[in-house]
Amino acid sequence: MSALLSVSDLSKSFGAVVVADQTSFVVEQGAAIGILGPNGAGKTSLFNLITGALRPDAGRIEFGGADITGVSAAERCRLGICRSFQIPQPFGGMTVFENALVGATQGAGLSGGSAEIHAIEVLEATGLLPKANIRAGALTLLERKRLEMARALSARPKLLLLDEIAGGLTDAECGELIETINRVHAQGTTIIWIEHVVHALLAVVQKLIVIDFGKKIAEGEPREIMGSAEVKEIYLGMDPDA
């Protein structure tokens, strides 16, 4: 396997608040990685840095072997990096189908009928087809989260970044979500997933990275990481013996 994404010594701070502190890691082609950490640890900022919504103060990001540190967010999407937003940002005045069509035409570069077919396929895969003609602004929160993933998928990403999409789902819904993500992964898409719902995460990823205060504090095999006392204390805020 070759490295698809390689992040080295990435740093970013806003005044006194450090959101990335010399973070380095490598994501192999075809991997599925989970990112854990308490609120405010810098997880979403890390996504912003990878997608180009934020510029790092220092460090380097490589994608598919090429340096993309100075490349715009739009260009990174066309290269194949696409993300869902933790706080959903639907195109509220457009229908669900049109939301997906934006990704299919702009991100994946499809046109005409093939873009429409792709958008419909994505909606079908994410269970949103019955809502295709609804204005995205009228969706419930859960549907918006699903739309976030659908829209990211519609751009045909090589690397899919998912930001907290399982929170608040029922068990059945969560199961469906896991199935969808696993299917996307099986089709060859590399995945990085930030999630608090640990059991969902563990059903998908082969590796976990834990960050706190913008710093990577652990990386490794999921069971091992979840078993470590340090992670339990930092992440759940529970004393191991409580």
Binding site: G40, L141, D171, G237
Partner: protein, 237 residues
């Protein structure tokens, strides 16, 4: 409950066009310390906003000291004696440390707290009183945020995620002063994701899950299993 200082009655709250709270009932008695726990998105912050008046509700859904305040403006609620230590501290960057504290006392309510008393409790703030609040460390900023709320001499103080983004040793320092604050006769409501800290300082706990109360219990009677179940949902453990 006859002596409840704060009562939430079937509180529904919306955040944008999304409903964040569904029929939440709560009752906090005078002098109690109650903690509220729950996963991200469970509705904790919306609850704080509803109580402090940043989100408007039906008048009778929030009752403070016998008075319906659900649709009262935030500045008027502040005047009635509710103060919030907000998530992420939210100091005023254009104001010095001392100006932040003085502004906290804007409501003019009388009580035990004053600038001197805040400086006694957090001596470092006295030393840095004329500095910009943004030049302080995260822990010191949290002290200013707490001091700012105390300056209002509130009857009810709300703490929203005060350990968020702070190093463990700093969290320890902050929690060490809480008993002293509450000892002054204040009632406190504590939203916290650091569950063991929350349970240690409070007498009762509510857990929120997807905008509904999933657990209400005395802290000395609650088990870790109860919490895990209420926190993550039935089959997550």
């Amino acid at each position: 409950m006859p002596d409840s200082l704060l009562a939430l009655n079937a509180l529904d709250a919306h955040y944008g066009d999304f409903q964040a709270l569904y029929g939440v009932d709560m009752s906090i008695e005078r002098g109690e310390v109650v903690s509220i726990i729950g996963a991200n998105g469970a509705g904790k912050t919306t609850l704080m906003r509803s109580i402090s008046g940043l989100t408007w509700n039906d008048p009778a859904q929030v009752v403070f000291d016998g008075q319906p305040i659900g649709s009262l403006r935030a500045d008027l609620i502040a005047g009635l004696g509710i103060a919030l230590v907000p998530e992420g501290r939210q100091l005023f960057p254009s104001l010095s440390v001392e100006e932040n504290l003085v502004l906290g006392g804007k409501t003019g309510r009388s009580g035990p707290w004053s600038l001197d008393k805040v400086y006694d409790m957090f001596p470092i703030l006295g030393e840095r009183r004329s500095q910009a609040s943004t030049s302080l460390s995260g822990g010191q900023q949290q002290m200013v945020a707490i001091g700012r709320a105390l300056m209002a001499n509130p009857d009810l103080i709300l703490f929203d995620e005060i350990s968020l983004g702070l190093a463990p040793v700093v969290i320890g320092t902050i929690y060490d002063v809480l008993p002293g604050i509450i000892g002054e006769g204040m009632t406190a409501l504590l939203v916290e994701q650091d569950i063991s800290r929350a349970l240690a300082v409070s007498s009762r706990v509510y857990c929120l899950q997807e905008g509904r109360v999933s657990l209400e219990e005395r802290t000395d009677q609650v088990s870790r299993e109860d919490i895990t179940e209420a926190y993550f949902g039935a089959t997550a453990a």
